[in-house]
Symmetry: C3
Subunit: 337 residues, 3 copies
């Protein structure tokens, strides 16, 4: 919805330098924004893009204002300010209430009048879907799932069974929630499957990425607290606990019964062993391996960045021959006495 | 189905200490089990939870019996005993025979009278589905797939084509079996696709996790033997062979034509290069990289656990400067002569 | 389509040693090919399989011809020659034109007369599908997607919205293209979602593996150039750029705004941080971690191969105690003065 800069400044608490009557009708990157689009400068290191922008206005910190060739909205946190204004300018699509005739809905399912169930979706027995929630095409909501208000399950999402989610949650396409955890007991005749009888409980304002999987609990429930953000291709094992506002980037894998605190941030490809704990406010760099309890907040890492193959092979060889080097030093020490 | 402790003891070969007439109607964790639930103690390290349990009874090893505040079922392998009793108490759901009217079934498909095909599933030409097998909502079974008896394909599973599975197999939601392997030949004009004309052959009692992918063979078939267990988010490349009772945890990636023996156990995020072999009874720890043949049974590893970022960065720098250290030691040795 | 060796030799530019009238009706591996099948020898290291093959003929390099027990087609690049002949002998299945009655197609969608839309697929508003393209069962093509000619979306693929692809592209089952990128701004009240308003633009002749995810751009588009090959389980973040003919093996994860050049080859499980660049012609070995710009073509690596756990644990301990060793060497140097 087109809005004047003056109105945006007032509504979102920014100081405006520039013409308040300029009308903004969308957003753009610094490099590609057109003359009616709003852009933002999240960090001074992108200032080179700022000086040549053709945007109508840019959200930025006070210190960066003088470098802008165009109008500015000054805010202490330009990125979150941009997020809020962009949500206002480009609201998520809405869906007309009702169930598409090709969807299959069990007689015992309770679907709010304002909810939307798209083509070829399947809603099974005992399901409840709240106000304004929308279930995408081809999505399957299995037995006894409870979906709050204003939720969005995108196309081809699967809730297997016994999944309960709060309000304003988003699940992207291909996500699978509530499938059996990996429970197997070894016997002389091979593996015996351990029944997975728990469910999944997810709070409010949780977003889950494409083809991310969150298994049901083995006995008790798997729990994801309010405000958690999970990127694509993540695995959350049975009985994992993820504390509120924790965010994980793509391809993390969290083994069963792991417990993760609040406000943690895991970069991509982090792995975490089962039955251990990470406290609140822990950051783990990409490809980090968490193999024991972390009890101190802070940033952690365990990856080696790439080198040219020849150098890397020498590095590996030197590490493997450290024994030899240690022996040589010990001999020198002994001889020196 | 509610059952007395005495009956459970007899049926599953346990010694009972406690009242045989107590009726058990479900299972629970040591921490949260109610007074009619059965729990288990898999390892003495969880004994603290045992002493405060409110479960009706606990399955445990003889040595742990005296610490139980409640009735006990004594068994040498409490976890597999629990798995069996839990399967008896909480049997997997059954499905009524028949094809849902919204499912689309090719005229040439042969579906057993006792099989179940759920809403919006698609069964293509030449498919055969055995007794009591069930195909979940939105699942697609492509041309010429053969499914044995008592199998379960959960919602939104895809069998692409030419997939043959035995009896009692379980495929969780979003799993994809029989898609083309990654075959590309380089030419001066770019990549040429190599047709993938093989199939996938899977034995009995195999369980495959959510969004795990098993590619069809390039020419011959990809083979998964009896009793294999694959967790979620795993990739099995074309022409891989996985020996019986091997288990892999989440997010392992096995490249084409790799061959894995029997009873191997790979923890999460293990990678294996193509065209190499791992013998029987090999354990690989989380994030391990298998890049050459493994010919000796045993446990292997190659990951560094996380450290605080500052310490880790110093570790990386020291490793990169090992050359320098080696030179300094060599000089000391020379000077000492 | 059965074809004589003589015709194949002529059509695909090979020298034939053997009877030109032998009829070939399919392909086979060296180990398992039958007497009317064509096989190939890609590398001399598989020569052991060559000498015992029962294939009707083998494609190989001139130098390997004398070791063949059967007819040979001589070509400088046996693998790409095989790819071309196999595509001719075993063409991809074709689909009859038209929309299956169970598919749901928006009134505003434009579908070419020669295109195929399979059972239970969903095509949303503003979509365009080109000549001879086929949309598999259960696939969903969301609003405003544009699909060129001769494309194949396999069963249960999801295009979320605003995805544009060229001609001759293949998307395997479970792939998700155009879902929201991972954009979150931290505020004192928790994460605020950053609207993802860009699309995805994909060139010609691109192949994307099963359950691979390619996110839409945050503002500008995510771009995949002509001829790119992505294996299964890969994540491509928002605003990533992948240059033409680059190939990635399974389970790579590319963070947002990363830029990858032309003709790069990433082995499995490679991770790449966001907002950095890799130049053309870079090869990265399996599990490599790209954490800064790569400006020189060549091969790179950063993984440690597995060792027996005991040895590995000693390696880790020695690396962690390098400080100590460095101090001891410094003391020796000081004492030697």
């Amino acid at each position: 919805m087109p809005t004047s800069l003056g109105e945006l400044a007032e509504q979102f608490g920014c100081d405006l330098i520039g013409d308040p009557n300029v009308v903004i009708d969308g957003v753009g990157s610094l490099a590609n924004a057109g003359p009616s689009a709003l852009s933002f400068l999240s960090s001074s290191k992108f200032k080179k893009q700022l000086v040549s922008t053709k945007a109508a206005a840019v959200i930025l910190r006070k210190d960066d204002a003088e470098d802008s060739p165009t109008a500015v909205l000054i805010n202490d946190n330009p990125y979150s300010c941009y997020a809020r204004i962009a949500t206002f300018l480009c609201p998520a699509p809405t869906y007309e209430p009702g169930v598409h005739p090709s969807a299959v809905v069990a007689a015992t399912a309770i679907i709010a009048k304002t909810a939307h169930v798209a083509a070829n979706a399947v809603i099974e027995h005992g399901v409840s879907i709240g106000q304004n929630s929308s279930i995408g095409p081809g999505a399957v909501v299995g037995p006894n799932c409870v979906i709050g208000d204003n939720c969005r399950l995108h196309a081809n999402v699967t809730f297997v069974r016994n999944v309960t989610i709060g309000d304003r949650c988003i699940f992207h396409s291909g996500a699978v929630v509530g499938a059996d955890g990996f429970g197997n007991a070894m016997t002389p005749e091979g593996w015996v499957k351990v029944p997975q009888v728990g469910g999944v409980r997810i709070g409010n304002d949780v977003e889950v990425g494409s083809v991310t999987t969150i298994d049901c609990g083995a006995i008790d429930d798997t729990i994801i607290e309010d405000g958690v953000r999970l990127d694509n291709q993540i695995q959350i094992g049975h009985n994992v606990f993820v504390g509120e506002h924790t965010a994980m980037a793509t391809a993390c894998a969290i083994a069963g019964s792991a417990r993760i605190g609040k406000r943690c941030m895991f970069a991509g490809m982090v792995g975490m062993a089962g039955h251990i704990e990470v406290c609140d406010d822990v950051i783990v760099n990409g490809k980090g391996m968490i193999s024991k309890n972390i009890t101190e907040p802070g940033a952690y890492a365990s990856n080696f960045p790439i080198e040219p193959v020849r150098e890397w092979n020498r590095t590996v060889a030197k590490v493997r021959r450290l024994d030899k080097l240690i022996e040589r030093v010990a001999k020198l020490e002994k001889d020196a006495k």
